[in-house]
């Protein structure tokens, strides 16, 4: 946004909404980092904390919903303000879903054995690190209203797909070696899939940001990696 609104309280309400989305984003990012950490380190002590932080994220979502409804009713926003309001709604929905997926992954730590092979975790970690970076970049592009960066995130989801494929393969490999691994391997497959889905929500956020900035949706279909094409 450029000039300020003539009505100061309108300006404040919009600013407050954007701030809420930024705060929700940073909370979602920390939760994703923590849940990834818990999976890789098989740290069962941190599960409760991660689950609890999801409540905080959900609260933000309801708060943002209320703020949006108030803005729509009070201000009937137009043009950039309308797009700002609508994208806040969409972005907060995607953030909430990412939060749910991180929580789900944290819950999967419980049945994991402490001596998982390094290669297996290594592939999962590479995927997790990329998803975390994607979330960080997309939030950065939201804060700085950077169209190019948001579009880059959108395109880079292809790499998330590829790493998902690799991580999945290594879990299946591990499972095929010994049927005893079935129980927790299933959890690891779900955890991998959750990261891939978090990646999809991140691309949704990137799309919302591009729409917010230019007023039009990204054209063409997003480059897709191996896992999707299977």
């Amino acid at each position: 946004m450029s000039n300020e609104h003539t009505v100061k309280s309108y300006e404040e309400e919009l600013r407050y909404l954007i701030d809420s989305v930024i705060k929700m984003g940073s909370l979602t990012e920390s939760q994703l980092v923590d849940s990834m950490d818990a999976v890789i380190k098989v740290d069962k002590d941190s599960i409760d904390k991660i689950i609890k932080s999801d409540d905080e994220i959900n609260k933000f979502r309801s708060k943002i919903d209320t703020q949006i409804m108030t803005l729509l009713v009070k201000r009937a926003p137009m043009a950039i303000d309308l797009r700002e309001t609508i994208s806040s709604l969409k972005i907060s929905q995607d953030l909430e879903r990412i939060g749910d997926l991180s929580k789900s992954n944290a819950k999967k730590v419980k049945p994991l054995p402490l001596d998982l092979p390094e290669e297996l975790l290594g592939n999962l970690k590479r995927l997790g690190d990329l998803v975390i970076k994607q979330l960080n970049d997309v939030l950065d592009s939201y804060v700085n209203k950077n169209y190019g960066k948001a579009k880059e995130v959108w395109e880079k989801d292809e790499q998330v797909d590829d790493l998902t494929y690799i991580a999945m393969e290594s879990v299946i490999d591990f499972l095929s070696k010994d049927k005893k691994n079935l129980d927790f391997s299933t959890h690891l497959i779900f955890a991998t899939k959750n990261l891939e889905r978090a990646g999809d929500h991140i691309t949704n956020i990137a799309e919302s940001i591009c729409f917010l900035i230019k007023g039009e949706y990204l054209k063409g279909s997003r480059p897709k990696g191996k896992v999707i094409q299977q």
Binding site: V7, R75, A76, M78, A79, L82, R83
Partner: protein, 256 residues
């Protein structure tokens, strides 16, 4: 593919001066047939001056000077030889404040057709009155009291009476200068509903200070500022994603 209606009114390099003061600067604007065009902009931006050029209402102001062209159906209306009375028959106008004549409801409607020689017999006039009131969605409310004064109606009804009066001479264009600014939300909704209906038959130009109204009623919107047409385009585009920063600042309330 979206079809665009034909251009009904075309202004080319239109300049208007009130004495020394220039009120419009080189306005080039096409208004499509059977469509509603909304003109928005801060007070004094020239939007009312613009619509008053379309039926040469500015002629009545001595110090007003108009240069440039306005064509209706390709015919220049600023031509000195043009019959202004018949122009105003083709281009009706509704004002901000309802202004019925201090006469009966019936006379309010029949006056125009009478002076334009449109209803020669009583039954012809009766028909025009009924049809005009029906088109203005007022017939049901007033059919049993056509001899009562028009000024006795509510504000919203008076405005619809003025619209019926404008319609009675069978115009092609209806100009509306803030037609709802003196009305409550219900009366406003009735006028907006009426505009939706009327656009099937007439080309409508509406000046409004309500952005929400412009979005609701129009297909095309023009934004004026300090006598210049800053941006014109499809209404949805103007209010969702305008090209011009000044337009955006105005419609989002970031002006001045």
């Amino acid at each position: 593919m979206e079809l665009m209606n034909n251009v009904k009114i075309k202004s080319k390099n239109l300049n208007v001066y009130y004495g020394e003061k220039q009120a419009l600067f080189d306005v080039n604007l096409d208004l499509n047939e059977k469509e509603v065009t909304a003109l928005i902009g801060p007070s004094g931006c020239g939007k009312s001056t613009f619509i008053r050029c379309i039926n040469r209402m500015n002629d009545v102001i001595d110090i007003c000077k108009v240069s440039g062209n306005i064509e209706i159906d390709g015919v220049e209306i600023n031509d000195k030889n043009l019959d202004v009375v018949s122009l105003r028959e083709r281009v009706g106008m509704v004002f901000q404040k309802p202004n019925p004549f201090p006469k009966s409801i019936y006379d309010n409607i029949s006056y125009g057709p009478k002076i334009h020689g449109k209803g020669e017999t009583k039954s012809e006039l009766d028909e025009i009155v009924e049809n005009s009131l029906k088109k203005a969605a007022l017939w049901e409310e007033v059919k049993d009291r056509l001899d009562e004064p028009g000024t006795g109606l509510s504000g919203g009804q008076q405005q619809r009476l003025c619209i019926a009066r404008a319609i009675s001479v069978n115009p092609e264009v209806i100009l509306m200068d803030e037609p709802c600014s003196a009305l409550d939300p219900i009366a406003t909704a009735k006028i907006e509903e009426l505009i939706d209906e009327l656009k099937k038959t007439y080309t409508i130009v509406i000046v409004t200070h309500s952005m929400a109204q412009a979005v609701r009623v129009s297909q095309k919107t023009g934004f004026f500022h300090l006598g210049k047409l800053i941006e014109v385009g499809k209404t949805e585009k103007i209010f969702k994603n305008p090209d011009n920063k000044m337009t955006q600042d105005y419609i989002t309330g970031r002006f001045g």
